[in-house]
């Protein structure tokens, strides 16, 4: 079943309730997400993006993952 930008946004909101989140993309496979959250402060980009991937619970995982491509931007609020 194809995943939607809304599904991704819901998963991210569940994991980062106070974050500013935008998800774009409507082809069911390629998306771009931006997550700005206080919890990212002090983490490097790898750590920030690992946290986002964890929130997506395996949906990114390879050939069986529903999510083929997610361009990701993460940062702490300015």
């Amino acid at each position: 079943m194809a995943i939607t930008a809304r599904d991704i946004e819901d998963m991210l909101k569940a994991a980062f309730p106070a974050a500013r989140i935008t998800v774009d993309g409507d082809d069911g496979a390629h998306f771009a997400a931006q997550v700005i959250d206080e919890s990212f402060r002090g983490l490097n980009r790898v750590q920030q993006q690992r946290a986002v991937y964890a929130a997506l619970k395996g949906k990114m995982d390879g050939s069986h993952g529903e999510l083929h491509a997610l361009a990701l931007t993460t940062k702490a609020p300015d």
Binding site: G62, G65, L70
Partner: protein
């Protein structure tokens, strides 16, 4: 040798390694192509590992790095990031700094040109 040992050996023996879909001459995914393109353009000498050629490596590198996507860039045995992180670091100049810190040769003018074109 199992996949984990092979990966550890590869990132230990090569200063810069890109785990990618396809090869640096013929990438098979837009994200892999973008990172390989940046390294090629910057004149960085790097080893490319085509994960599509080996299912054990394809899964193994995700576990090894604790990172679910390809491409993955390693510099001096350290995981740097995937496509988005490498792109951000290229545009911010952090990638130049990383290469400089590790004594890895690259074409500074080419890196500046990438930033001019994407500024």
């Amino acid at each position: 040798m199992n996949a984990e040992d092979t990966i550890r050996k590869t990132v230990t023996e090569n200063d810069v390694v890109l785990f990618m879909k396809g090869t640096k001459m013929m990438p098979q995914c837009g994200f892999s192509s973008r990172v390989a393109g940046v390294l090629n353009y910057m004149g960085v000498s790097f080893a490319d590992v085509n994960v599509l050629a080996d299912e054990g490596i394809r899964q193994g590198i995700k576990n090894f790095s604790d990172w679910p996507t390809i491409p993955q860039l390693y510099v001096k045995g350290e995981f740097v990031g995937g496509c988005d992180i490498v792109t951000e670091m290229t545009l911010s100049g952090e990638l130049d700094q990383l290469f400089t810190d590790h004594g890895i040769a690259f074409d500074k003018d080419a890196a500046d040109k990438i930033r001019e074109a994407n500024g």
